[in-house]
Amino acid sequence: MSRPLRVIIAKAGLDGHDRGAKVIARALRDAGMEVIYTGLFQTPEQIVQTAIQEDADGIGLSILSGAHMTLFPLIVEQLKAQGAQDIVFFGGGTIPPEDADELRRRGVQAIFTPGAPLSEIVSFVEHECGKRRELVG
């Protein structure tokens, strides 16, 4: 029996807009994944604990508040601290290209900026989370 991929879609910090996150969540669901939505205003610790308990293959974080340079690295750190680097970590939002490059260097696997086609996000998640699944079973 093959299990569908499981992905956390999270919103962190003081950012009350979750339209984009919900669009991504639905697209992943329609691609056959189980999407766990955490709701707004989550701390990095809450997000990582959720991913561990849910045995998620990936975490997608949406940030529109401008706090991406603090929040993304905090999650990378939390994942390391919990020995959970196997979980794929990606994100999106209003993030300038130079910040996106810096975040990728600091361990975020992919950053999608507004206008990125949904199909690109879905195939990234399928591919990377699929690799994680092959590794851990």
Binding site: I52, E54, Q82
Partner: protein, 328 residues
């Protein structure tokens, strides 16, 4: 790593009480590889108090769960939550959103929350729900809450699996009355009228009472509690009702029956799963046009070595204790 090595490593992680171990163990069970783990851990189960929570969409089940978790934590108990949402029958994907109401417990190391998709399982519970409950039990969690949307069969299944079944209803919605009519009265151990801040709350309470009067209960008579899950009002009373029910089960000796029922439920699920797969194969290979459906069914059954039985006695689920007055 082969499956046996991976299984052994997982067992070590589980025994070290690592939440990752529990999380991975549930995934194992979900992919149909749970047999070995459960075999190792089964002797350690039977200690948790299990509470089922069902009711129509949006009635406040997850908000109630969160309030019950808070209550149980204030009593020093560790808690597991399993919440089941339906999978999409088209994509097999699912949006699992019950966690939104449980955020205050995410970083509490005494709380473990797992969302499950029903994955097309018939009864509304996920196929591996019973395994998840056993694993949480073996992990040492004191209280296990199981949330499921009340549609059709799921309330029957949850009543089999949980020691105490809470049916949550809300005022001012036709859904709740439909649920009552659909036979859910008979499986509830505790009724909750949630959203008691709603002007029609007392009316719903009266409706439930009058429906209860039409039933004969053998033994336990369901308690009815009014709550406002968002503010925590009525949660102490709800917890007391749950404890009363557990005390009743213990005193009356029905707890043993309840445990056997949960056990039987799981055995039935496992056996039915195998039979269903076998049946599907037979259906594909044996069913051809040209004979009538009864003859075709006989042929399929014969290939299982089963002689079709006559008889039309209703199959009455064992956990239904109430009956409509004057009917039985």
């Amino acid at each position: 790593m082969n499956d046996t090595d991976a299984g052994a490593a997982l067992l070590r992680q589980f025994e070290a009480r690592s939440p990752r171990g529990l999380a991975r163990a549930i995934s194992y069970a979900e992919s149909g590889r749970g047999a070995q783990l459960i075999r190792h851990l089964f002797a350690r189960t039977g200690r948790s108090m299990t509470i089922g929570l069902t009711g129509p969409p949006g009635v406040g089940k997850s908000t109630l769960s969160s309030a019950l978790v808070r209550k149980a934590r204030s009593l020093g108990k560790t808690v597991g939550v399993v919440s089941v949402d339906p999978s999409s029958p088209f994509s097999h994907g699912a949006l699992l959103g019950d966690r939104i109401r449980l955020t205050e417990h995410f970083t509490d190391s005494g709380v473990f929350i797992r969302s499950m998709a029903s994955r097309g399982h018939l009864g509304g519970l996920a196929g591996a729900t019973a395994d998840a409950v056993l694993l949480m039990d073996a992990f040492g969690l004191d209280v296990i809450l199981i949330e499921t949307v009340g549609v059709g069969q799921s309330e029957i299944e949850i009543a089999e699996l949980a020691h105490t079944t809470i049916v949550a209803l809300q005022p001012g919605s036709g859904d709740s009355i439909q649920v009552l009519k659909a036979g859910i009265m008979e499986v509830a151990d505790v009724f909750v009228v949630n959203k008691k801040d709603h002007p029609m709350a007392n009316q719903l309470k009266r409706e439930i009472r009058s429906m209860m009067e039409m039933l004969d209960f053998s033994g336990w008579v369901p308690e009815l509690v009014m709550t406002q899950a968002t503010s925590g009002e009525g949660i102490d009373e709800l917890w007391a009702a749950i404890e009363n029910h557990v005390a009743y089960l213990q005193k009356s000796g029905e707890m043993a029956e309840k445990r056997l029922e949960a056990f039987t439920h799981q055995v039935r699920q496992l056996a039915l799963g195998h039979l269903q797969r076998k049946l599907e194969r037979e259906l594909r290979s044996k069913v051809a046009e040209g004979i009538d459906p009864y003859a075709a069914a006989d042929r399929v059954l014969q290939s299982f070595g089963v002689t079709p039985e006559g008889g039309d006695e209703p199959i009455r689920p064992p956990h239904v204790r109430a009956s409509v007055k004057g009917l039985m």
